[in-house]
C-alpha cells in the first residue's frame, strides 16, 4: 500500500487537478445550462408559459413530436435489422458497411440538408416529377423527417452491434436447435437480451431527433406554424430580439436534454452489464 501511495501526487496537486476539472466543466457546461433556465424565467412564470402556449410555439412542438414519432420507431426497427445482419453473420464488404453506418456522424448537418435539396428541389433529380405530380417534399414535413432520419441513422445500430457481438449467438443457436422458429427465437431470446441496449440507442436517437437544427434548417423553409420545429422556432424568436421567449422555449428543450441524461445515467448504472461495454460505468 505504501508503494502505491508513493506514486500518488501530493495532496495539493491532487486538489488542484480536481478543482481545475470542476472549473472547466462548470464554465463550459453548467453555466450555459444555468443561463438558459435563468433567462427563460427572467420574465416570470407567466411570461414563460405565454411563450410556450403561443400558437406558433405549439405548432413547432407538435411538428417536433410528430417527427420524433416517425423517426424513432423506424430507426429502432431498421437499426435492429442491420445490427442482426452485421453482428451475426460474416460476409464480404462487412467492414465497408460498418463504416457507412458511421458516415452520418461525420457529415455536416448542413451538407445532409443540401443533399436533400439536390434530390427534391425544383432543379433536383426528382424535382420535375414531384412538381408534375404535385407532391411536396422539400420545405414541407417529409423533408424534415428525411433530414432527421439521415442525422439519427447510426444511433441504434451503433449501440446494438458491439452489444450483440459481445453476447455471442450461443443462446440463439440453442433456441434454434430446440426447434424455435425465427420469430420465436427473436422474440424470446434476442429481444430480451438486447432490450436495454435498444432503449439506450432509442434514447440517444430521440434526443438528437428533437434537437436537430442544421439539417432541418436547410430543408424546412421556415414557414411559421407549418414547418418550424422547436429549435427553428428558437432561432426565429432570438433573431427577432425576443430573447426571453427564445430562452423559455430553449428551457423546454433543456429539460428534455436533462431527462435524457438522467435516463442514460440510470441505464448505465442499473443495466450497465446489458449495454455495449463502452457504455459500462464502474
Amino acid at each position: 500500500m505504501a508503494d502505491a501511495n508513493a506514486l500518488d501526487p501530493p495532496r495539493w496537486l491532487r486538489a488542484l487537478l480536481i478543482l481545475s476539472a470542476v472549473a472547466v466543466m462548470a464554465l463550459l457546461v453548467l453555466l450555459p445550462l444555468a443561463v438558459v433556465l435563468g433567462s427563460g424565467f427572467a420574465g416570470g412564470v407567466r411570461a414563460w408559459y405565454a411563450a410556450l402556449s403561443e400558437p406558433d410555439a405549439l405548432a413547432a412542438l407538435r411538428l417536433t413530436l410528430f417527427t420524433a414519432a416517425i423517426v424513432i420507431p423506424l430507426n429502432a426497427v431498421f437499426g435492429t435489422l442491420t445490427a442482426w445482419a452485421l453482428a451475426r453473420f460474416e460476409f464480404r464488404g462487412k467492414r465497408v458497411l460498418l463504416a457507412l453506418i458511421d458516415l452520418p456522424f461525420a457529415v455536416s448537418p448542413v451538407v445532409a440538408g443540401l443533399c436533400l435539396v439536390l434530390l427534391f428541389g425544383n432543379h433536383g433529380w426528382f424535382g420535375a416529377w414531384l412538381q408534375a405530380h404535385d407532391v411536396k417534399i422539400l420545405f414541407a414535413r417529409p423533408a424534415i423527417v428525411l433530414a432527421t432520419l439521415f442525422i439519427t441513422f447510426p444511433f441504434v445500430a451503433r449501440e446494438l452491434i458491439p452489444l450483440m457481438q459481445q453476447q455471442g449467438s450461443d443462446e440463439e443457436l440453442a433456441a434454434r436447435s430446440l426447434g424455435a422458429g425465427a420469430w420465436t427465437m427473436f422474440r424470446r431470446v434476442t429481444l430480451p437480451n438486447i432490450k436495454w441496449g435498444l432503449l439506450y440507442g432509442v434514447l440517444l436517437c430521440g434526443a438528437r431527433a428533437m434537437g436537430e437544427f442544421g439539417a432541418v434548417s436547410v430543408v424546412s423553409g421556415h414557414i411559421r406554424g407549418l414547418t418550424n420545429t422547436l429549435p427553428l422556432h428558437i432561432e426565429i424568436l432570438y433573431n427577432e430580439f425576443n430573447s426571453t421567449a427564445a430562452f423559455a422555449v430553449a428551457s423546454l428543450l433543456c429539460a428534455l436534454a436533462l431527462v435524457t441524461l438522467v435516463l442514460k445515467f440510470w441505464l448505465e448504472s442499473r443495466h450497465g452489464d446489458a449495454l455495449a461495454s463502452s457504455q459500462r460505468r464502474h
Binding site: L17, A21, P32, S39, L81, G211, S217
Partner: protein
Amino acid sequence: MDAIAKTRPGAGPRRPLPGFGFSLGLGLGWLGVVILLPLSALVLHAAGLGFAGWWRALHDERVQAAVKLSFGASFAAALVAACAGTLVAWVVVRYRFPGRRLLDAMVDLPFAMPTAVAGIALTALYAQNGWIGRWLQPLGLKVAYTPLGIVVALVFIGMPFAVRTLQPVLETLGREPEQAAASLGAGRFTTLRRVVLPELLPAILTGFSLAFARALGEYGSVIFIAGNLPYRTEIAPLLITIRLEEYDYDGAVAIAALLLAASFLCLLAINAIPNLFKHARRRDG
C-alpha cells in the same frame, strides 16, 4: 450440429441462424434510401462541376476565408478539447471525491443539449453584458461575435468526444506499469511521460480527430455566437446555406464536397490510428 443440419435442411451448418438475407437486404435498402441516395446526389453534382465550375466556386476570397476559418477554429477547438478532456477524464477515473459521479454525468450534456440552445446560451454568456463577457470586457477580450467565440462553441461541442474516448482506456490501464516504473527508480514526471502518456496517446488522438470532424461541420451552436461577418466570422457550413439561398447550387455543392472530403479523411485517420501505434510499438520492441 449434424442433427440440426439433417432435421432443418434450410439451415446449413455455415449459417445456422435465420434471417441473413432478410435483415441484410432491408438494412442495405434502408441505408441506400436514407443515406447513400442523398449523398450520391451531392457527389455526382460535384463531379459534374468540372474544372471550370470548381475554379469559379473556390477561387472566391469569401469562400477561402470561410474554409480557412472553419479549419483553423476547428483545429484550435479540438486541441483545447483534447487537453481539457484529458484533464477531466483523468480526474474522473483516478480520483475519488464528492460529486465525481455528477461530474462524469455532466460530460454528456453537450451531446444531449440541442445545438441551437447551446448557441444562444453561449452567446448570452459571452456577450459584452453577459455573465462571463462582462468580466472579460475590462481585459480587452471580446469573445462573442469574434473567431474566439467560434472556438468556444466548438470546444463545448467537441469536449465530450475527448473525454469519452479516453475514459475507457484510462480505466483499463491500471496502475501496475506505473508502480513498476516507480519501483525501478523513475520519477513521477518520467513515469508520466515514458509509461502513461504513450498508452493514452492513441485515445487522445482519436478524441482529437472526432472533435475536429464534428467541429468542422457544426452549425447550430456556432451561428449565434459567430456574428457571421463575411470574410471574418463566417464559417463554411453557413456559407453553404447562403449560397443555397442565392440559388447558387454549384457554389454550395463545391463547399459541401470539400467538407465531405475532409470528414472522410477524418474517418480514415480515426480508423488508422490504432494500427499506426501498433506498428510503432513493434518497431520499438
